[in-house]
Point group: C2
Chain length 290, copies 2
């Protein structure tokens, strides 16, 4: 396993700056975000990571596939638009030779991330939203397969179930992936999202080589007011990383370990210091004891 910088951790950096940062700090891999790649330009981003000799451990992110659960024409249009956007994301992941495209599948149809519930125009049909994700996956997996891209289904902490991901446990993500070849659909193990799960170790073992990405960051307590920013530097929260790392290794995962932190303080800090801290904490807190 080798450490990778998910570029949202150093959010102020462009792709070019983050690639430079990785090289400067001796990292071999980087996780990229579509927004940042679009700002840099896709072709230019490809050129930069190749010239630097970096692996792209993931592209973040596809998904938001559930709006099709809205009734009638609105639902059909939203579903078609979501599929189209995800095909573009797959194309970009292929260009970048990303190890996977991370999929954040979306919340209840009509509920917008981080926003108050709309007065109308949303649905509480959680089972239906989950069906939508399965339906979208059936469309997208073959498209990804033809382009050599692996879709990585990311279960999110249940706190994000209303607005970001109706996929809430590793077991659930794994079930959804099973109908497809493991080269086409895998799962993400992100410590922040799954650390509490009583079935975690069982499901990590069961997932085996379906694990497409291992992401680490801590779970802060108490969470900040904007719960999206509750992701902390490893060692600053409540997670015991070593047993999880050990289980992921034992399951056969041999990819990079991405550090993806959404945190106002981390974003405000000097990115070079953040990467230095991240390296030190990775050694001290994340790596399984020998």
């Amino acid at each position: 396993m080798s450490l990778s910088l998910n570029q949202w951790t150093t959010r102020r950096w462009s792709v070019a700056e983050a690639v430079d940062g990785c090289v400067r700090h001796g990292l071999e891999a980087i996780g990229l975000w579509r927004e940042k790649v679009a700002e840099q330009g896709l072709a230019e981003s490809v050129k930069l990571v190749r010239a630097a000799g970096l692996r792209v451990s993931s592209l973040c992110r596809g998904g938001f596939l559930t709006a099709g659960g809205l009734p009638g024409e609105e639902g059909r249009t939203a579903f078609a638009r979501a599929l189209e956007d995800n095909r573009r994301a797959i194309d970009e992941a292929a260009e970048l030779s990303a190890a996977c495209l991370v999929m954040v599948v979306g919340g209840l149809p009509g509920v917008r991330p981080g926003e108050a519930l709309p007065a109308g125009g949303f649905t509480r049909d959680l089972a239906g939203a989950r069906e939508q994700v399965a339906e979208a996956l059936a469309e997208l997996a073959p498209y990804a397969g033809e382009r050599g891209v692996k879709l990585a289904l990311e279960p999110l902490h249940p706190i994000y179930c209303p607005d970001r991901a109706v996929l809430s446990t590793l077991g659930q993500a794994l079930e959804l992936s099973l109908p497809y070849p493991q080269e086409q659909v895998g799962v993400v193990v992100d410590t922040f999202h799954v650390w509490w799960d009583p079935r975690l170790f069982e499901d990590v073992a069961r997932a085996g080589r379906r694990i497409a990405s291992y992401q680490v960051c801590d779970y802060l307590h108490p969470l900040p007011e904007d719960v999206l920013l509750g992701r902390g530097m490893m060692g600053d929260g409540v997670i015991d990383f070593r047993p999880i790392t050990q289980a992921v290794l034992a399951a056969g995962y041999a990819g990079d370990v991405e550090v993806e932190i959404f945190n106002a303080d981390v974003w405000a800090a000097d990115p070079d210091e953040v990467v230095a801290t991240m390296r030190a904490r990775y050694e001290d807190v994340v790596l399984a004891a020998p």
Copy 2:
């Protein structure tokens, strides 16, 4: 099934006032809190609920059993103290003829509810904390059984895993209950805590008559800054209640349905209006379609 007022919903009311309120609004059952019972006096509380002809659908709450996971003498003392407090809670539940004693099992050892992580003196050993709960249950279940009290293990939303309950899913609570007769140990289904769980319907069916309490309130989105207060009046959040109610009924549950809302606005409102709204929403939103 019959509607019950969990008295924390009308937090300003004493036991005497809440009992009066239930009678005034035609309710047949009440869920009591130990703090409020202590303020009123246990014997007086028993007299009040009997005179009013109310069932006590639950006593809240026992638990906080994990501090024994702290090392050495501190852990042993904390464990003994927790057991002693829970025996008192069982005694009180017996006096009140409560249908169950709700158990909120506690978070990571040394992490205090709602407070920042202490600099030292806490542990990240989640598996160990869960073991502690099983150990405490082995001590308490027979004691409860001898007094005709049923312990109701409450899985809490994973957001409360650090500080309030390492019991995070209904399936996990059910596993923990299985070694004991169902008259001694059951589980709570609280919609706020379990609505997101992809295994919910499977586990409700599996729990069957182990379901000792069905509590309803909505899951607000976004959550307020103090996540403990994210419990809303049914219909104000994201939960689709009817399928859950239907599943709980189909599992064989025939007890009362408690409404337990922690919410600053609800607590600020006139308690009589809160109970009236609760009755109306129960009919409109919670009851399974015929």
